[in-house]
Structure formats: C-alpha cells, structure tokens
C-alpha cells in the first residue's frame, strides 16, 4: 500500500480522531478501541470477508481482458470514518445551504441570466464551461436540482471545505450503499453499538422525490452506460436496490415528444429518467454532441415536458470550480446569509487582474482547467516545457482556468494490512431535494488518498474507500426501503418491463450456460475415459475396447462445440490418435470459439448485461465460475503426457468443479429467478441449446454402428441419465432403450421430448401471445418438432438394417436446425431493438452565390 506521506507533512494535517484540544473524540475512541482489540488473524478474516462480499456485488472480470477494468476500482477499508454528531450537524447545514444556492444559480442561468447581466457571475465564466448547455436556455421550464453532491475535506485549520461540486450526476451512491451493507455485515456488533445513522433515509427520500415527479402512466428508469463502463456494476447495484429499470440509451426512443422504453411486450412510456450519463451523450441532435449515439429527440421531449430528467439538462454548469470565486457574494446576494462552507480560495483567470496576481505567485498555487474532472496541475511537479504549455493555454483560454490555494486534507486511521496507519480522506456527500429543501445522506463515500501539498488524485485512481459512520445522538430508528414506503407515492413495479436488450442477453445467458455445460460434460467424459482406463500409452490408443468409444466422444466434442476441424475435419483422425494438444486448446484457449473458457466468458458477458435482474446468490455462482475460468486461462497445463495420471486427475477435478458451479447456476436460475418474461427467455435459450447439442451428440456417436456398451454408457452419462436408465429398465444396455430414454421419454428432463415440450409451453406464455387465436410460425415450429419426436419409433430409427440408421440421422438433422430457426424468429419479434441512427445534417450547404 502506498504510504507517501512523510512524518513532517503529517504533523501539519488535521487528525480526525482528536478534538481541537487534542483529546480523543468519544465516538472515534470507542470504534478505535474495538479495532485495536482485533488480533491480526481476526483482521485478516474480516478483510477477506469484505473482499468476498465486494466481489459478489461487483464481479471482477478477470477472464475478459477487454473488460478487466470493469471491476470495482478500489477496496473498502475495515476501519470506518467516524463523524461526531455535532460536527455532522454543521456539515449538513452547510451542504444544504450550498444545494439551495446552487439550485438558484442553475435556475437563473437557464432562464433570465440576471446574475450574469449584473455581473455577479462573469458571463464568460459560464459561457466557456462545457457544462453550459445553450439548448437548455429559455426552454420554458425552470430547472430544479433534485440531486446535489459534493466532495468535502477538512483543512489543517479544522474547518471543512468544498473540494468539488458534483451536480450533473453523482457518482458513488451505489458504492456508498455497498460499503455500508458490507461493513455492517462484517462487524455487526460494532456497527450496532456505535449508533450509526442509517443511510436508508436518503434512499427513501430519493424514491419519494423521483416518484413525485413521475406521471401515473409513466415509468422511471435509470439511464447509464453499458457493461463496458467501469462503474456499470455500481449502476446495476443501485438500480436493483431502488427497484428502477436500468437502461442504456439504445433502449429508449422518442415518439412525438414522448419517451418510450423498448420492451419485449411493446413500447412503454417513460416519464422520469435518472441519468448517469453526460449531457453531451444524450441527444445527437443537440449542439456540441459527442457522437451519433444517444436518444435522438430527447432534448425536444424534455422541452415539451414529455419527460423529466434528473438532474436536468445543463446542470453540469454548476460543477465549474471557478464559481468558488463568486460563491461568498452570491450567497449574500441570493440568500442574504454568509456562506457556511467555502471552497478553497480560488482565482478565476478570466479576470485580467487575478491573472496577473496568480502568475506572480505561480508556484505556490494549483491550477485547474474548469472543464476537467478534478485534475489539478501542480507547478512543483511540472517540467519547464509543461509549465510553458500550461501558460500558453491560459493565455489563449484564460476563462477556462482557475488557480487555487493549496489545502491539505485531514488524516484518519486506516488499515495497512493488519496495522493501523493514517491516510488522507475526502468525503463525498449526497443530498436529495425534499418537499421544501434538501436532505443530506447521513454518511457518504469516504475516499482515501496519500497526496499532499493540496494535490488530489482523480476519482478513479484512489487507493481505497471507507464507510462513513455518522453517529446519532440518541438511539437509531431502523429504516427499510420495503417496509416504510410512504404511501402517497406510487412505486413502479418492475414486472413486465423487460427491455428488449436485456431479454436478448438473458436468452444468451441461457444458451451460453448450456453451451458451457455441454462442453464440460464432453471434456469430462473424455478425460475420465483417459484417466480411468490404463488403456492408453503416450503413443496413443492401445486398447481396442476403448478406442471406438473414445474416438466417438472426441468427434462429438468437436461437433457439439463447433470447434472444427478438431477431431472431425482435416487431420481429425491424426488428432484422435494423439488428442492432447487439441484437448488442451479446448480447455485453455479463450480466443477460440467454442472452447470451454470461450463459452464461460460469453456467459459472463451476457450475464453482465442483465446484471440488475440477477440475484445475489446467482452472482456468487457467476463469480465462482469466473474464478474457475481465470484459473483455466491463467494456469494452463502446457504439456500433457497421456499417461500422466496426476495431470489427468487435476484436470478432472477442475472440470468437476466447473460442472458443479454450472449445475448450481442452472438450479438457482430455475429456483431463484422470478418466473416472468426474463426467465422465460433465459430458459428458452437453455432448452434450445440443449436440443441442438443433444441432436448433435447422439447423431455423431450413433452414426457409426458401434453400439458397444461402453459407448452407450458414455452417452447416458453425458446426458446425466445413467440412474434413470437403470431404474427404468433394469436391463442390459440396449441401444433402442437408450434412444427411447434420450429422445422420446417426456419424463426424463434430459430428453429431447422434454425440452421440446418445455419450449412449446414457454413460447405460449411469451408476451403478446396469450391472445393469439391461432398458432404462428414460432408455435408451429415447436409443435411440429415435438410431434416428430413423439411419433418416432426407436425400432424404426435403429435396427439391424442400414437404412434405419439413416432415419435417425434424418430426424436429428431436422431437429438440429430448430434452435437457429427459432432464434431468428425470437430476434425479429422480441429483440429487434437497437437501431443506430444516421446523421443527415447537410454538411455541404456552402454553395453560395458566386461573388458579384
């Protein structure tokens, strides 16, 4: 852990655990006494507990190199950040004042601009900031600022100050919630006796405020970036907790100035959008947009009152740090009060007199581009060239720069492994508008860093976070989102609101889970054969008994996973003789389509996109699968001697573990998932995939006339049907009975008939079909396939005669195409969604009249 603060530096910083007279603060002391009483093993156990919980919420994508950054950016410290009640009262009052003030400024900027005209705010300060949205001026609506957030720190003087205002959309609410849930579970006793204020009050107010804005026929959605974004899991976590649908821009469409969510059922009206996306990415029609993505026509819908956006368009203008230079006067002018918590002393370089003053003291100050997200330039750390460049930029665009005095942040105790050290803290606080003012979340996201001299690392490069414990004067009342819901606000119900994109991902989650499972079963069967029989030497196959069975499974493995040529195509015969290399590739190569790590990775990707719908238990299984997958990729068996029993055993264990996790996944997906439309799409994916694999495997294995017992047993094992066979037939293994069990037996959950029956039943329940008077293409396909199987006669399919085996192949070939056909129809009916618009702005109107 970095620990760059020298003792000299530390001596000047404020110590959070001490009062002004250097005596220990009572609540801090109680918490610290407990923490100091922990033995190192206890601390480690707690820390592991924390990591495990965080991991479960924010799955780390270790096996996806391109999505590796999608993991939670930093860890949670075991030691909470404690705030004494009287301190918090003052902080909260100052934050509320600031929120009120910011809202008034926002209203003025987007309506009359009187503050600008009277030069209480220099107009160029606003006009030069990227957050100033000209499209939002004079829109006919007076904007509100429902959510306000600010980073605050304590200066060496002991006074709190504002580090940053965050008004466009607050990041970190989800992390704060997660920190609280995890830490209170890790140290439940300490948490309880410490009388910590509940942050749930904030979330209740949040729901209340959002609910009050939404219309009865409209829904509320959380609009965020997709799984490729590093805070995606935070968004999903928050959406799940609040019960709002998490959407991406492509899920929404504007029709006649109203906003709709594309769901599998129909277009559903959206009346409130909580956006966690920058203004410049919302509507490609607006001036200064970053691209063609976004929700075309959204701004106009907002202007016409067809939808409300939280926070409103253009609220990012308030994040401008240059405003700190005017805040004291603005507070007096607007509220008639003194500003309770200022920012660091700030000089706006758009003013010529300030510029001269600042440049004369250049090295004492920190510089900042007003558009940047908190990045500070420190002249001490810059080369001559960098400084020249900075000064040149300031000369060209002085309005876009501020200088500020260096203010160092206070210290709080933090664990460095098992010892307590001190690190600097910043607290991100969150406010939400209530009926007449603002409520402050009693707590916040405490951010850890080690930068001195007033410098500050970016939000994403911090070294850790803490839960913030605001201590209550009296006993704490429990709050829960579910029980104490205020009854004057209608909460939306998620059911029936399945975005097409999510449905498609759930469908693929089902397919990919089944693909992975098939792959594992086949590989396991291969390796067990290799391990169990000492029938093989490093030269290849020796035993004539095993050879046909092994060869058939190898071929089936290639066919079912689609990893051609493999054991089938060109050179297949040679590879069946010496299968090691190909098998290792199937086990370890994530880049090759159809291999085990490939399918597992696809499973993670589709699960990630449906993340807000997945239960916590399912997430844990996904994490376990991901760990296993990483292990396969990162620790490959590089060289496999075919008689190396230890290596084979090791591989078999890994495959067993993976299969167990996949089975747990299948079980939980069945038991732990609301059986609504989303579940149906997932199950359809799984069943269709299983139909395909079943057909392929049976076809490959039984295509040749090697009906030996070993082969049939392997087949039964692959379909998990050995027990069923024994209990049902109590006989010698017979190919016809095996076929009956695997194809026609409607009570064997692994049989084709079972899958097809389930598919037919599921399809009938898909949205918009309950009212269909007659079967459409989708149902017809399902019915026809099921009938084919039901009418099949094993005697006809397989007998001594050669053409009978062709009947089997014919039947399986037809059924094998079913998944692809159905997926096409499902896609056209339910998933056709994200269309990308094209800009058609006339880029060449510059054909003017010839000069006269």
């Amino acid at each position: 852990m970095p620990n760059a603060i020298s003792t000299d530096d530390m001596a000047n910083l404020y110590d959070e655990t001490l009062a002004k007279d250097n005596t220990a603060l009572p609540n801090w002391q109680r918490v610290m006494d407990t923490l100091k009483g922990f033995h190192p093993p206890e601390i480690e156990r707690c820390q592991q507990n924390i990591s495990r919980q965080l991991r479960a919420n924010g799955i780390a994508y270790s096996s996806l190199s391109d999505a590796r950054h999608a993991s939670r950016p930093w860890n949670l410290d075991l030691a909470p950040f404690v705030v004494e009640p009287e301190d918090w009262e003052k902080i909260s009052r100052a934050l509320v004042q600031r929120a009120v003030l910011k809202q008034e400024i926002l209203r003025d900027i987007y309506t009359e601009q009187l503050l600008l005209k009277r030069r209480l705010i220099p107009p160029a300060m606003i006009f030069a900031h990227r957050g100033y949205l000209r499209d939002a001026v004079n829109s006919g609506n007076t904007p509100d600022l429902p959510m306000f957030s600010a980073d605050i720190s304590r200066a060496p003087s002991g006074n709190w100050y504002i580090v940053d205002d965050i008004c466009q959309y607050p990041e970190g609410i989800g992390y704060t919630l997660e920190n609280r849930l995890v830490l209170s579970r890790t140290m439940p006793r300490l948490f309880r006796v410490s009388r910590v204020e509940r942050i749930a009050t904030y979330f209740r107010q949040l729901q209340h405020t959002i609910g009050a804005l939404s219309e009865s026929d409209g829904r509320c959605v959380i609009l965020a970036y997709g799984p490729e974004h590093q805070h995606y899991f935070e968004y999903a976590f928050l959406a799940k907790y609040l019960g709002y649908t998490l959407v991406q821009a492509g899920d929404l469409t504007v029709r006649d100035n109203l906003v709709y969510l594309r769901t599998v059922a129909d277009l559903q009206r959206v009346s409130v959008i909580v956006r966690l996306i920058d203004d410049t990415r919302l509507d490609p029609m607006a001036v200064g947009q970053a691209g063609v993505r976004g929700i075309t026509g959204l701004f106009q819908a907002v202007r016409s009152g067809g939808v409300k956006i939280i926070n409103p368009l253009g609220s990012g203008v308030l994040d401008n740090p240059a405003l700190n230079a005017c805040m004291p006067e603005l507070c007096k002018h607007i509220l008639g009060e003194d500003l309770l918590m200022p920012g660091p002393p700030t000089y706006w370089l758009g003013r010529a007199d300030q510029r001269a003053h600042v440049l004369s003291r250049r090295d004492e100050l920190l510089f900042r581009n007003t558009d940047s997200l908190g990045q500070l330039f420190d002249p001490h750390l810059m080369s001559k060239k960098q400084l020249d460049d900075l000064e040149a930029q300031i000369a060209l665009h002085p309005e876009s720069y501020v200088a500020q005095e260096r203010l160092d942040r206070s210290l709080a105790p933090t664990f460095n492994r098992t010892t307590l050290v001190k690190q600097q803290v910043t607290v991100r606080s969150f406010l939400i508008q209530n009926d007449n003012s603002y409520s402050t979340m009693p707590g916040g996201l405490c951010l850890l860093d080690t930068s001195t001299n007033g410098r500050r690392p970016a939000f994403d490069s911090l070294i850790g976070s803490k839960d913030t414990w605001v201590i209550s004067e009296g006993p704490v009342k429990p709050v829960s989102l579910l029980t104490n819901a205020p009854d004057d606000v209608q909460f939306s119900v998620i059911d029936g609101e399945l975005p097409s994109r999510v449905a498609e991902n759930l469908f693929w989650m089902g397919r990919n889970a089944e693909r992975s499972e098939t792959c594992v079963r086949l590989l396991r069967s291969v390796f067990q054969t290799l391990q169990n029989e000492d029938a093989l030497t490093s030269d290849g196959v020796k035993s004539p008994d095993v050879a046909p069975a092994l060869s058939a499974i190898l071929r089936a493995t290639t066919q079912a996973t689609g990893t051609l040529p493999g054991f089938v195509g060109r050179g297949g015969g040679r590879r069946r003789q010496a299968p090691q290399r190909e098998l290792l590739s199937m086990l370890h190569d994530p880049a090759r389509v159809g291999t085990l790590p490939y399918s597992l990775t696809r499973l993670q990707i589709s699960a990630a996109a449906a993340r807000d719908r997945v239960s916590d238990e399912l997430l844990q299984v996904l994490n376990r699968l991901d760990d296993g997958c990483s292990d396969l990729i990162d620790n490959p068996t590089t060289k496999l001697q075919i008689d190396d029993i230890d290596a084979l055993k090791d591989i078999n264990e890994k495959l067993d573990d993976t299969l167990m996790s996949l089975s747990a996944f299948a079980g939980l997906a069945h038991e732990n998932f609301t059986h609504g439309d989303g579940w149906r799409f997932m199950m359809l994916g799984r069943r269709l995939e299983r139909v395909q694999h079943t057909c392929t495997v049976i076809n490959t294995i039984l295509a040749h006339e090697h009906d030996d017992v070993l082969l049939l047993e392997t087949l039964l094992k692959l379909f998990d049907s050995v027990m069923t066979y024994r209990s049902r037939y109590r006989s010698q293994i017979d190919v016809r009975l095996v076929l009956r069990l695997l194809l026609i037996d409607e009570f064997n959950p692994r049989s084709l008939a079972f899958q097809l029956k389930e598919i037919q039943a599921t399809i009938a329940l898909l949205p918009g079909r309950r009212s269909l008077s007659q079967a459409d293409a989708l149902s017809r396909l399902a019915i026809a396939s099921l009938s084919r199987v039901q009418l099949a006669d094993p005697e006809q399919l397989i007998s001594a005669r050669k053409d009978a085996r062709q009947n089997l192949t014919k039947l399986l070939n037809v059924l094998q195409n079913l998944p692809a056909q159905m997926a096409d129809i499902l896609s056209a009916t339910y998933f056709s969604h994200v269309q990308h618009g094209k800009q058609i702005s006339d880029l060449s109107p510059a054909v003017d009249s010839e000069p006269t």
């Binding site: 000209r134 006649d256 029609m285 665009h397 618009g837 003017d848 000069p851």
Partner: protein
Amino acid sequence: MKLHVRHRTRYGYSSHASQSHNFITLQPRSTRNQSCLTTKVVVTPEPDTLVSELDVYGNLSARFSISRRHEQCDIVVSSWVETSDVLEPLPDSSGVLENLKGLDASEDEDALMAIDCLLSSPFIEITDKLDALVDEIPIGDQGVLQYAERLMTHIFETFDYTSGFSTVVTPLSKIYKERKGVCQDFAHLAIAVLRRQHVPVRYVSGYLETIPPPGQKKLQGADASHAWFAVYDQQHGWYDFDPTNNKRPDAQYITTAWGRDYADVTPIKGVVYGGGTHSLNVEVDVTRSGSPPVAITE
C-alpha cells in the same frame, strides 16, 4: 425592399426510413435592418407535432419528427421579408480594450451574446495556428468596425472563392493554407482572426438575392444560402460584413439566424433510422415581390 424566400429541401431514401428527427433553422428573424412579415414551414409527409421555438440567441428553429415509414421528406420554408433600403454608414468605433471595457459594463442581451462571441465555439477554436494571418493584418489601435471592414476586404482580395473544395468540417488552417473556400469558410476565418484579437464577432446565416446577367432569365432554384459575419461595437451594436463579396450586407441580404458559428445555426440537420443511403436536393429562390408568397396566402 420586399423579398420572397423559398427554401426547399428534399431527402430521398433508398429504402424505408422508419423514423426521422429533424431540426431546421431556416426562418428569417426580424432584425434592426429587416422585418420578417410571414414565414411558414410545410413538411411532407405530415410530421408528428412541429414545434417552433426561439433558441438562446433569439433565432426561430423548428423541430419535427416523422414516426412512420417514409421514403422521402420534403421541407419547404416560404418567407416574406422586408429589408431596409438604407445602408447605415459605418460609425466610428472603439478600439479593442475600450470595446471590452464597455462590454463588461453593459447589462443588455446583445452585450451578453458579444461576450459569448469572444470565446472558442464548436467549429472555431481560438488558437495561435492562424497567427500568420493575423500578422498579415493586425488590428493595432483601429476601431473594431473599421478593422472588420478592412479584414473583409483583405480576405476577399487574398482568398479565392472555390466551391467544392471544403465542407464545414474542413479545418481553418487548411482554408488558410490553400487560400480558398466558400462563404462559410471566409466567415469562420474572419471570426477566428477577430476573436484571436479579442473582438466579439458572430456568424450570420441567410440569403442573398442574385441578379442574372443582362438579357438572361433567372433560373429557378438558382439561389443558395449564404453566410457572413457581424462585429459588435460596445456603443453601436452589431454590424455585418460579407467577405465573400467584399460588401456590407444591404437590402439584397436576408438574415436568417446568427450564432457563434455554423454549429449554432445549422440550416438543417437530422437523424434518420433505416432508410439506407440518402440523397439530398436543395433549391432556393429569392425574388422581389410586393405580395405575400402563394404558399402562405393559401
């Protein structure tokens, strides 16, 4: 002088478009030198709600969407405008610093826009890359309006009008290097030079009535949209300059809209879903007429 402007834009799509959103800034505003008597937008096929609104700079923009399948979209804007026959002589104006000082003390909307027009804008970044052009014709202690007139002439005399060479995304450094472009480029270039020297300047889009050579009949649809720039003097307000024609805009000029640059007043822009490839056809007619356009009297 009373003039009709008819601006027709036709989009054709190679296949069905399922939805399109459009935003047009084509309706003339009333200014110190012109009054817009009537203006009307007709869209075929009939769109969802068509909303006309004033933007932050007081321009009239219309937005509409078409939510059903369509293969083409026809937008006709017909306006009737009376322009002032008298071209005010250019008044004496303030030097750069005095102008800025006056600007800072003024509370009116014009001054606010002038401050906005001192800064970088979407298409015009204030940089030192055009300093060589600034050096060709530095402002020194001239009055801002007098300087603007000289800059207009300088661009007219040292740049070639060449259509087809540039689009709106062609960088100004390239226009400068090649010394050729069209009206937009010259307006943008002048704006960059003026802002670099702290003179408030805005982009103006509009039309220019053309007169056919003697003996020839004017061709229908032969006119086109035009663009020039305007400079703000703290005492006298905004004054227009057309570097393409080396002329201060007079009764033959119709102002549609103004902004920091082309991005603020793009005549027509849209996003279409589906539709395949699209074709675009624009016709503009500016004609003198004492009576309202037919499309409007209907």
